[in-house]
Symmetry: D2
Subunit: 266 residues, 4 copies
């Protein structure tokens, strides 16, 4: 009998792209709030979601350095499980509920990509970097304090797709404003059988469920954010028309569940 939560399944279950849930995460985040054209944003929403009538066009871009572990000390194998990520969340509505939808997300690691697909995050590979804050004082340390600057960028297949710059201004006690909507994704797994290429085997609107979310050391400040045009990508269609607050924080949570909102393949 083959074991493993994901492919490849094997006799010992040690070769799977991802270990089984629960999945535990801790990260540093450089983020920027922005407003894109509501008439563009609405065309990125999947079946089942509508523009948020009050905030359509409002969005957030985040660059994350992630550490991941399952139940087998995976954090001790950083070459396999540590990763970097960039994504955008668009304000949307599911019925009357205010939610966030992720049209694009990039990671530099196959285990993260596999988990993402299973969660409905439409991950592709990218190369993502953020200025880090180090403990040893230096012009290179980027301490978390007023006036410190953080740069971030994301690239895919050798094209820059996003750059950000955040200058910290003040510590914020309640960061809820940036993390107050549940994330809604689409789990989507295509068929290849002739005649069924447009009839996916899995097509579910799902809501992320996170346990024990902790957000610490949240600072806000001034920001810049750009989405350069790139071949084979459509992120630039969501380019910022107006920039809101920048922020830098650390966040952790665990994942072992997912709520299926609607099943379109049924």
């Amino acid at each position: 009998m083959l074991l493993g939560y994901t492919m490849p399944r094997s006799p010992l279950g040690r070769a799977a792209a991802s270990p089984p849930p629960p999945w535990h995460y801790s990260s540093d985040i450089v983020g920027v709030e922005f407003w894109t054209d509501p008439d563009a944003a609405r065309f990125f929403l999947p079946r089942g979601l509508k523009p948020d009538p009050k905030t359509s066009g409002h969005a957030v871009a985040m660059f994350l350095d992630w550490q991941f572990t399952g139940e087998q000390d995976e954090l001790l194998y950083p070459e396999r499980y540590q990763y970097r990520e960039f994504f955008v969340l668009l304000d949307a509505a599911w019925g009357d509920a205010a939610v966030a939808y992720c049209p694009f997300i990039y990671v530099d690691n196959d285990s993260a990509l596999a988990r993402g697909w299973i969660q409905g995050f439409p991950k592709k590979l990218g190369s993502i970097f953020q200025t880090r804050s180090f403990a040893a004082p230096s012009a290179a340390a980027a301490p978390v304090r007023a006036g410190s600057k953080f740069g971030a960028s994301a690239s895919a297949h050798g094209q820059r797709i996003a750059t950000a710059r955040v200058t910290l201004r003040e510590s914020v006690a309640d960061p809820a404003v940036m993390f107050n909507r549940p994330t809604v994704n689409v789990r989507y797994f295509s068929r290849l059988s002739a005649g069924r290429h447009d009839d996916p085997a899995v097509n579910e609107l799902v809501m992320s469920i996170t346990d024990n979310q902790r957000i610490v050391d949240f600072w806000s400040g001034d920001a810049d954010l750009r989405f350069p045009e790139a071949q084979g990508e459509e992120l630039h269609a969501l380019a910022p028309l107006r920039i809101g607050a920048g922020f830098r924080c650390s966040m952790s949570y665990s994942v072992s569940d997912l709520r299926v909102l609607e099943d379109f393949a049924a």
Copy 2:
């Protein structure tokens, strides 16, 4: 309405990890036939397949440099679509039919990874190289002729998982012996909803269908093949006990269909 054969789906359908079928491929291959322990090999076969009673333990390892295109001149964007691959095929039986099963496969490209998952190939990321044959004469050219040597290797997350060496001896008119079994895979897409982690949304035994397969410039010769032990991998459990022929050839085919043999999730 969102477009795209795979995630991420977008207004113009240009951001999907893979364009829709038909998919066209052309490759150079360095391969090695080998025999592993039949008692090990049987434990790698999925539900629905059994050891081939006549050839259990017989297998082939292949390293491939691939060029891919869909219908939109994707071959002109090699930074996005060209890729390298390593995989193993194990002899197996589906009922009375002799088939080949792929327990492990590695690629260095996200578009290839996405297509692989949809086909049932359990792709993870790797770094794969083979000695190439160049037209301009040189000690560095590796011409396709008797005595030429080709090296190949595959690594995952910084660990070497396979190395091969092939010395060409003779041109072979009919390479059927290496490509005479259809490939049978498992399409597998996990659920994350609590209580259903062991109940995949998709779990199908499928048979690959390839159109217009062409194999040219097939040479066979002597070979070496090794699968070093690696953390987080199980390939080494299929390490060669005996090495057969090595070979080097070029192969092309197209894909636009897949045959579902059994649906275990139904």
Copy 3:
């Protein structure tokens, strides 16, 4: 006693970034001839070179897939020695001699980078791709014949710095026009001692010497070439004002010597 042609030197001499000369190379090339602003080009020439009075502004951009070997079958270790390269050559004059000068060059391999520095090629790391021509017929094969299209690109640190497209029109018997100037480089190795940061330990104008150069399968055709603006790069200052011929060929040569034209550090 430590052995090795380059750092790191070690007891057995097996760890050096590059084996000693002679170095043998074979490659496939996608190239584009172009004219940039002569007033820009002249500012890129080093001490000792002047604009070619007849052709200033004329240049060529090349994308190369290289196979390298020394005397120890290095071509059998493609993971360590195979590489891709992008560079620009500017027409220039050394005294009365027509030469080519390389202002920028990018490779994806440390052994190639080390050899480049020693030759005076100012290599940085990049990610370079070209459409390849495969033997097995397919829409993905890109055969070398009239009408075939080849794409190429180069990126550095996640920014696209060059893209090219070549459509083959005709086979050319004598490709000398593209390779009729010796390449002149600057070997440059900085000092770090205080007060000597502007006083390099090595600063030599040198001329490349290649043995047994062979150029085969040379085709010319139509071309496009772009150098997008990129942070931390200056290639875009040499952007094409006019595009000449595109070409695709294979080239080999060996290197075991270098001619020092002028020593500015003496």
Copy 4:
């Protein structure tokens, strides 16, 4: 006139592999003290250094996540300047002075590689990872406290060359024991002119000079360290016979000078 501290030099000096000194660094370090065979270690020492008569065979291996900046806010371009590093330092003697010599060092960034060569660090490219400590509490956070475990690894060209594991036991007020020797390197830049391949243009024994070194949050603990055998490398000849203390700390310093001890090329 061309500008730039290193190649490539250009009209604006913005394309150089490295900006000019002063260079500022801040890092997190996972390190392991060990003893290798003194009879092996002595063969790795360059001309001008001898085994330390009291400690020959004593060494330290370090894995570092580095942030770098020059004077132009380079830390805001992490995609170009942030990097990871692995190196070994061997106890040695220069005359009567106790020093540390670096036989092998690997980085994942070309700017760091260029600076390294100029400093005499014999850098090659590698892939290096360490478990990081994140601020948001989680099973994935690896806080700096007693009992926390940190993994680290280094690979080159797809081969694992080093793995380490450190379990923190106690905070150490004075970490001098790990950083009490100046580092002595060899600046080495080869010639390619025929007949002079063994006659480097630069061959200097040099001592690193660091300003404002700060070491903070130093914890020591139990450790494991392995150097697996790898083709094209000789690190495994320095494999640990006995493991000493593991440690985890943060370190910063600046560099703008280098002391030349002996010039063997003069």
